[in-house]
Symmetry: C2
Subunit: 603 residues, 2 copies
């Protein structure tokens, strides 16, 4: 069975040393007392929960899946008990506002814990995972009465939440939705329609489920400007605020999926279900984006967690499995063969996983500081900068970390050879579970359009410049440091090229808007590789300082420098391909007619 | 449900026009009468069988899987009837020797049909698929009596075959096997041991199963030089040659796998099973390689088939699914949104699939001519050249086409968005089925070592030069043709670089053998991209000739040129990354100790 240990040492490095979380928390209103000791204790406890409670249910949950009977969904054995333990441990409310029953700890801390949950049981983690988004939307856009009714319950995890957006004919293009909301005359609405792909839409973990639903009012304008957001509880709260009358919403069927079998992916029927408008009429999409941005970062963290899980188990296997001798001569002469970790190509796969895990962790924690500042920061200038950078990095976190997460989990299978394909070992499950992360909350293609079209080009690259300037400053500060040259020189070159490529696409896009879509995914991947290069270069600087100061943990820091070197030598060169493809233009993509595509097989 | 049409038009282009199969068959002993009309009729019939008989069983076979009860394996519903139809149609014996009941058609033709089988039902195709390898091994290494007993039955498909190599502790490193063969004194042997991952090890499709088993004789030398090959039938043939007494071999359990659920992957117990030595004692590995080389090309064809299947269905979906408007303005104003095929990034994904399908098909058919010549050629010089090139291309066909096949099937899922993750649509099954192809018959890592270590460096690049010279000649011949410049210039540059990179690794490897493993997978991928570039450049030349000649099918040829352009602009640039990684050397891979890898999470 797969094992997992929370990467506490690496987290300590990234938080305490690289990104100076102690200072960050000291300045963050409400987080002044979140010292490294406090953080350490919480992360250790969280790691234990993930390993001891969630991990043992991951494979069994995948095998069992969910069962729909008489409209009720039965989650896999043990999921309920684990959820109870999660709620009793106070985990759901960790980062929530004390006013709504939360513990008021920083969001960044919840994000770190989320990595551990995703690493050990993604399907389970999606039950509580979506409640945060629902709570966020209500906190930002709900009335006081709505907040009073739903927020504390969601925050404490007594109830869970969902996001009901997609319909069978539309996912990305929500302007096409058909669900309707008709005013009842008493301030409420009757919601009717069918939603698909609703994660945790129905289950047996919590006593109520709070659906946030997109639907159209009778007088709605056409398209995406005519969508409103409604809160639709499974049970209508009674006067005491407890689950009362059953509402007209139910699960029609469960999807049979490639992975995340333990999570109930529901088709939800709303049949004149009673709902309440959240935010202004026709402004539902904007409200939903509040949820979506957090959810997108959450999905990036899923990619990270699965990467780490796959890495740890592939490493254990590679140390243990004896097969062939090293090409340079036997390394374990007392054994029948060498452990496969002696082989350079096995090391290449393990280091790919390791570099994406550690790079992804830096990216998430770097982004998490911005989330903290946007939520709680006091300095307007700082908040604006954080919001700008957060907007830029969100699609990168989401799409880049899930793309490389899929690659990394596949490397894990590859290290296991044929055994990787067998369910028993658990490696193929990580691939199947990872596969959804490239799709939901906006596919990689959608994230790439968001990055290049909205975040970068819409203001002529000004947002990007905020980030590239930061990288430029770092490179300049280290320019005279010979020990950093192998990292800083390529980084500085890429940073300049990033701007040039952006300008190039921008110019072309003025002539033909399709140039944006033609370049977007390669642009996103390029951006991800450069961003991680920046963070790895900073990690090297930090590690070198520790080594120079004579750290007792020299092996950790030397390993960090070498992992960065591997990243620069073996993963960063992919930017050479992406740069060429960004510049290739739309022509060869647009030349064929829809019919042309089929000329090899259609008669 | 997914659909499939055999790519007959593209096959005609590659066979009749690009690679001049009519002339190839005309010169091939025994194939003189295999005219384009004959080929066309066979392919059309094969395509119909694949589409009408195999395709409808693909999803149901995946869902049902195989069942082991009382030692008997029940295959999914319909598999038996389809197999009967396959045997009655004479398909198994198509390319076999008429002396053994075969129809004596060229192997290349069977390979083309194999693409269709793999595209429509890989799990089913693996039942007959392994019989060819078993028959090959017996034909090359069996005694006359063994041939008489087993060959005709295998060739006709009345019996099927297996390859029993892997044991739980060893796959790649067969020198470690523990299965034993003890002489019985009457010329036979008693085989005892347990084999795992035996595809089609037990099933209900045929009346007997012929296992080819690796085991060690009592006096066997240590390691891979002490392995012998045995034929071990499930039922011992009686005097009439019909299945008689049950032999001591049986299926102990079925593996639960990520994909190919319809195929029985068996753990096979041999308990003093009666077996017969094939070939010389202790020379079993060499005999097994006869089977393995054909099997490796067969796995490459699986990658190709799955690519084509995923492409065709993603294309249908992209034409049909309405979502968003084109960035450059609405294209289907009468509809609620544009079909997603208008979006450049969707086109990028479809073209990636299309280019890998068409490029892979050219590579397989180019290689298939060499298989024909090696099997039936009369000219010694030509045969030697074919054997040399075949050795070089086999690991590329196997590993490159399965790596890009996995990518292509994943692009298929991505085109479907969230629906791609749902089993009903069939796209995720193609990914799960494709995943095994990167692993079995030698992982990509093993193929890469075979290519770089054995095929290329072992004779100082002489073998590679046979191929790069051919490419060089083509480039020279086209150098003055301005219409070909956009293809020939980059190809010529890459071809030169290929030699330089090879020399570079070779020089380094003289100092440190680990440099081979450090560069190998990137080298293989680089080689694959250049090989496909060569074939696409030739395809352009051919297409241009047809256009210049005023072909009535101009749309097909223009599409071909554009697909090649896409390949050169959007896929070939990946060589820039691989070239850098090939040159990166072993240092950053070998620097860490086995302990160092775990320093981020191990305490």
């Amino acid at each position: 069975m797969p094992d997992y240990q929370a990467p506490l040492r690496d987290l300590r490095f990234v938080m305490d040393e690289l990104l100076d979380y102690p200072a960050h928390y000291a300045r963050l209103p409400g987080a002044e007392e979140v010292t490294p000791d406090v953080v350490g204790a919480i992360l250790e406890e969280g790691g234990r929960f993930a390993r001891e409670v969630l991990l043992p249910l991951n494979q069994s949950g995948d095998r069992e899946g969910c069962l729909l009977e008489g409209g009720e969904v039965k989650t896999p054995s043990g999921f309920q008990a684990a959820y109870r333990q999660y709620v009793e441990g106070g985990w759901p409310s960790l980062a929530a506002d004390p006013e709504q029953g939360g513990q008021g700890l920083p969001h960044s801390l919840a994000m770190v814990l989320n990595e551990m949950i995703c690493a050990t049981n993604l399907a389970w983690g999606m039950y509580p995972g979506l409640s945060h988004g629902a709570a966020d939307a209500l906190r930002h856009h709900g009335t006081e009465a709505q907040k009073a009714t739903y927020l504390t319950k969601l925050v404490e995890g007594v109830w869970t939440g969902t996001m009901c957006l997609t319909e069978s004919h539309c996912g990305t293009d929500l302007g096409l939705i058909r669900s309707r909301a008709v005013p009842t005359g008493d301030g409420a609405y009757e919601i009717t329609g069918t939603k698909i792909f609703i994660s945790a839409g129905e289950h047996d973990l919590a006593e109520n489920i709070v659906h946030l639903v997109l639907a159209k009012l009778p007088d709605a304008p056409e398209g995406s400007k005519g969508i409103s957001l409604f809160v639709v509880p499974k049970y209508l709260p009674d006067e005491a605020g407890e689950p009362g009358e059953r509402n007209g919403v139910g699960c029609g069927s469960l999807e049979h999926k490639m992975g995340i079998h333990g999570n109930a992916t529901c088709m939800m029927h709303f049949d004149t279900a009673r709902g309440y408008l959240v935010g202004a009429p026709h402004k539902g999409l904007a409200c939903m984006f509040t949820m979506m941005n957090a959810a997108r970062i959450g999905v990036g963290i899923q990619g990270l967690g699965l990467t780490e899980a796959s890495f740890q188990n592939a490493l254990a296997y590679a140390r243990d499995r004896l097969q062939m001798r090293a090409l340079s001569g036997a390394k374990a002469e007392d054994k029948s063969a060498d452990p496969i970790i002696v082989h350079p190509d096995v090391r290449r796969m393990l280091l790919t996983q390791k570099a994406f895990a550690e790079g992804g962790r830096m990216l998430v924690l770097y982004t998490a500081q911005m989330v903290d500042v946007v939520e709680h920061g006091q300095d307007a200038v700082e908040c604006e900068r954080a919001e700008t950078l957060l907007g830029l990095l969100t699609p990168i976190v989401k799409a880049f970390l899930t793309e490389v997460g899929f690659e990394a989990t596949n490397e894990g299978v590859q290290v296991f050879g044929g055994h990787g394909f067998i369910q028993e070992w658990g490696m193929e499950q990580l691939v199947r579970d990872a596969r959804i992360t490239r799709l939901y909350e906006g596919t990689t293609g959608i994230q790439a359009l968001d990055l290049l079209g909205r975040k970068v080009l819409m203001n002529q690259g000004e947002t990007l410049k905020v980030f590239t300037k930061e990288i430029h400053k770092f490179c300049q500060a280290e320019a005279a440091n010979p020990a950093m040259a192998e990292f800083v020189r390529p980084l500085a070159k890429l940073n300049t090229e990033w701007g040039e490529l952006t300008m190039g696409v921008g110019m072309k896009a003025m002539g033909d808007r399709e140039e944006v879509g033609a370049a977007s995914v390669d642009y996103l991947m390029y951006s991800g590789y450069v961003t991680l290069a920046y963070l790895f270069a900073r990690a090297v600087k930090q590690a070198r300082s520790a080594l120079d100061a004579g750290s007792e943990d020299a092996a950790f820091y030397r390993t960090k420098v070498n992992t960065a070197r591997f990243y620069f030598e073996r993963l960063l060169p992919r930017t050479r391909a992406h740069a060429q493809m960004i510049q290739a233009g739309a022509e060869s993509l647009m030349a064929l007619s829809a019919e042309d595509f089929g000329r090899g097989f259609e008669i």
